[in-house]
């Protein structure tokens, strides 16, 4: 069941009615309804993996209590590492086993030792990377005594399996979400309305921007050998908007849906393509994952303390792991590596926290500089996305080589019966709308909200892609 499916359009109102009209009397009823809804939502993909989700929930729940009840530090450590090992073990088997075996076999073959790898024919359980990280953050927080373990299994289960965030985040923290689940939620009209606006804007991003861009970028990336420089440049830009529209659209729908139930989720995107440098980009893109890695990997590794070499090592580790988190492919690792390379100069010059404040644009030189920096940051981000999107490193390098050597800039007509440049105007309009609403959560609220709401609805039905259904990209991670 996808957020942009007819199935979800039926599911959501039913859960909403049950939640506010039947379960409204107590927090227990509300949580039970949300859990049942979440398990149903998850089982719509593959009910067999529901057992994995429940097992993972139970493991974290029991381990947390065991850590809390441990008398010695050794016992605490034992339960922590047992829980982490099993969680990472599942993730490793389902997501990375074939990658490691295939890479190891390639390595053996390259030195003349031939072997037949035992590859597993496994399906990746949807959302496993997200709910595993949920559980890990919880258990690590317990270990470091930042929070107390949750004794109520229903509340904890809901924290892990809450359907708006279950399959593609945002990756929540127990400190943020659990307190909200411990109290009865009261209906708030303004919050619910904001939720609807956010869902609608998320749908615009997904079905209008991302899915339309996908038609073009798929055509360009799949046939890059026959594309000229202009098409290849546009392909990278289209993919940049595809992945942004897809993932931030998903996050908007998730946050908006959750608001309908009176629960706030962590903000996951903050207009990342308006970043003035790559450090700011990473503070605005997939915020819940970036902060997760910062808190549970970067800081424990020493963070920005210690010598420069130490800091550089930590930056590379965090970006490489972040790339690998996205999928078992060298392309994601290369993408992480490139982003680390972008980041290092800022770190060495102590400029990685230069652009923290909000900015205003006017008719002056500093505004010109800001716009220039935004343009440069977007350009290098697009360059890195080529690795993220390509099937192999070789494809990515060939794509880039052709982009810089073909040097033909005429419009191309694709086999999908579209011209290469056709989306430029639509993307320009999208940028204008996002720019004007960059201080808000979504562009609909405020003055003339009904008019803007109507325009968004019209955009979804008239410009959306429905015949060629596309899944959310981050579901595969």
């Amino acid at each position: 069941m996808f957020f942009n499916s007819f199935h979800f359009a039926i599911f959501l109102p039913i859960v909403f009615i049950l939640y506010w009209f039947i379960g409204n009397k107590s927090k227990i009823n509300q949580n039970f309804i949300l859990i049942l809804a979440s398990y149903y939502f998850y089982s719509c993909w593959d009910y067999r993996f529901l057992f994995l989700l429940i097992f993972s929930t139970l493991l974290d729940y029991v381990s947390a209590i065991k850590i809390e009840n441990s008398v010695t530090q050794k016992q605490r450590k034992f339960w922590l590492w047992l829980c982490i090992s099993i969680n990472i073990g599942f993730l490793g088997i389902f997501k990375y086993y074939n990658f490691f075996i295939a890479s190891f076999t390639d390595l053996l073959n390259s030195v003349g030792l031939h072997s037949n790898p035992l590859l597993l024919n496994v399906i990746l359980p949807v959302g496993i990377s997200f709910y595993t990280f949920h559980g890990l953050s919880y258990i690590i927080d317990i270990y470091y005594k930042r929070i107390k373990p949750e004794k109520n299994f229903v509340d904890y289960s809901l924290f892990v399996s809450y359907f708006p965030l279950l399959v593609a985040g945002p990756i929540e923290r127990a400190t943020h979400l659990l307190p909200q689940l411990k109290v009865r939620r009261k209906f708030n009209f303004e919050k619910a309305k904001e939720g609807i606006y956010q869902i609608i804007w998320g749908l615009v991003k997904k079905v209008v921007i991302a899915d339309t861009c996908a038609n073009y970028s798929n055509e360009i990336f799949n046939n890059y050998n026959s594309m000229n420089s202009l098409s290849l440049l546009l392909g990278a830009v289209y993919f940049a908007f595809q992945i942004y529209g897809d993932f931030s659209g998903y996050s908007d729908i998730a946050l908006g849906t959750s608001k309908l139930f009176g629960i706030d989720l962590l903000k996951n995107f903050n207009y990342p393509y308006f970043s003035r440098d790559i450090a700011e980009f990473w503070r605005r893109w997939h915020i819940s994952l970036t902060t997760w890695f910062r808190d549970y990997l970067y800081i424990p590794l020493g963070g920005s303390k210690g010598s420069k070499w130490f800091q550089i090592r930590n930056v590379f580790i965090i970006f490489l792991v972040s790339g690998f988190w996205h999928g078992a492919n060298w392309t994601f690792i290369a993408w992480g590596f490139i982003n680390a390379l972008y980041f290092i100069p800022l770190l060495l010059l102590n400029r990685n926290r230069n652009n923290i404040d909000a900015f205003k644009i006017g008719f002056n030189f500093s505004s010109l500089k800001i716009i220039f920096n935004i343009g440069i940051t977007f350009a290098i981000t697009c360059f890195a996305w080529i690795f993220f999107r390509a099937k192999t490193i070789h494809d990515a390098l060939s794509y880039i080589k052709r982009m810089f050597t073909d040097l033909h800039f005429s419009p191309q007509y694709f086999s999908i019966e579209r011209y290469s440049y056709e989306l430029v105007l639509m993307l320009f309009l999208f940028i204008v709308v996002e720019w004007n609403s960059r201080t808000k959560i979504e562009p609909i609220s405020g003055k003339y909200s009904w008019l803007k709401f109507g325009l968004c609805l019209a955009a979804i039905v008239a410009l959306g892609v429905f015949s060629d259904y596309k899944e959310f990209i981050y579901f595969q991670f």
Binding site: K193, V461, G464
Partner: protein, 293 residues
């Protein structure tokens, strides 16, 4: 909560209103367009007289040159549609009857397309703007599963088939941007492909009785139209050319022209002739089946 329910009711009404308005706008634009596809041309024309028309898929669209017939005194048009199946050819013919066309001969391509009774989504979508206006189109699609939704939910048909009749196509239809669909009396020539032909693989093909073909035969009989069913050329390297022999076992009346043009230089792809090949092939067809007036 009351306030929110009122808000959702208003939002739902706004959505429905938007869909009704858009449906109306799209339908008006498509009903006033007659230069984008052969279907809109057909729908917006009436009382035409033709000595010969060609019906079928791209293997008609790219293979039959009406000029050769027209030069010999036969008023001819190529109504072949790339990607169409016999189901869509049947609907084209029904529409011609509805639009009061007077047709003496139909040359219908029946070869690879009787491997299946399936339809083409791409071509089906092009009929959808006329669903409300044309009883013939409604009757034709009455039995498809999504018929009720297509007919009664405003804008659903445009949403469901957005790739072919969505906003982009609407825009071109609104500005009357011409395509090459109607040029050369419907013949769309293909260029010569310089590379080696990749053989078509018909090993999984087997001709079956085809509902739409039988329907076309019945319509022709009822309207006194001379139906000539033909096969069209395919390159010699095709795997399982024996398929064409099996066609005769299912429908003995089908005339065989798959070997009318055989040299690879006449082909653009294995299943499609280039312009020279199409001219050669049309000459063979004309000389075999017609005489100059």
């Amino acid at each position: 909560m009351k306030k929110f329910l009122l808000f959702t009711v208003k939002a739902s009404l706004l959505l429905i209103l938007t869909m009704i308005v858009l449906d109306f706008l799209y339908t008006v634009v498509y009903n006033n367009s007659n230069s984008r596809t052969k279907i809109d041309y057909l729908y917006n024309s009436k009382d035409q007289n033709y000595d010969v028309i060609f019906l079928g898929s791209s293997r008609v669209n790219n293979h039959f040159v009406p000029k050769i017939f027209n030069d010999n005194g036969y008023k001819t048009f190529n109504f072949g549609l790339t990607r169409s199946r016999l189901e869509e050819s049947a609907l084209m013919l029904k529409l011609m009857v509805e639009r009061n066309y007077k047709i003496k001969n139909i040359i219908l391509q029946v070869d690879l397309n009787i491997n299946t009774n399936d339809h083409s989504e791409a071509i089906r979508s092009l009929f959808m703007p006329y669903l409300h206006q044309s009883k013939t189109i409604r009757n034709h699609y009455k039995s498809i599963p999504e018929y009720t939704k297509l007919l009664y939910i405003p804008f659903y048909r445009y949403l469901n088939y957005d790739a072919r009749i969505g906003f982009r196509e609407l825009y071109f239809a609104a500005i009357h941007k011409e395509t090459n669909a109607l040029k050369n009396d419907g013949f769309n020539p293909l260029k010569t492909n310089k590379g080696k032909l990749i053989p078509a693989d018909l090993s999984k093909y087997y001709p079956k009785r085809n509902v739409a073909y039988e329907e076309i035969k019945a319509i022709c009989k009822k309207n006194n139209i001379n139906l000539i069913a033909v096969t069209t050329p395919i390159c010699m390297a095709t795997i399982n050319r024996n398929y064409f022999n099996h066609i005769s076992l299912v429908y003995p009346e089908i005339r065989h022209f798959e070997n009318a043009v055989t040299d690879d230089t006449y082909f653009s792809t294995c299943g499609h002739l280039n312009k020279t090949g199409a001219i050669e092939f049309t000459k063979v067809i004309f000389n075999e089946l017609f005489k100059s007036k």
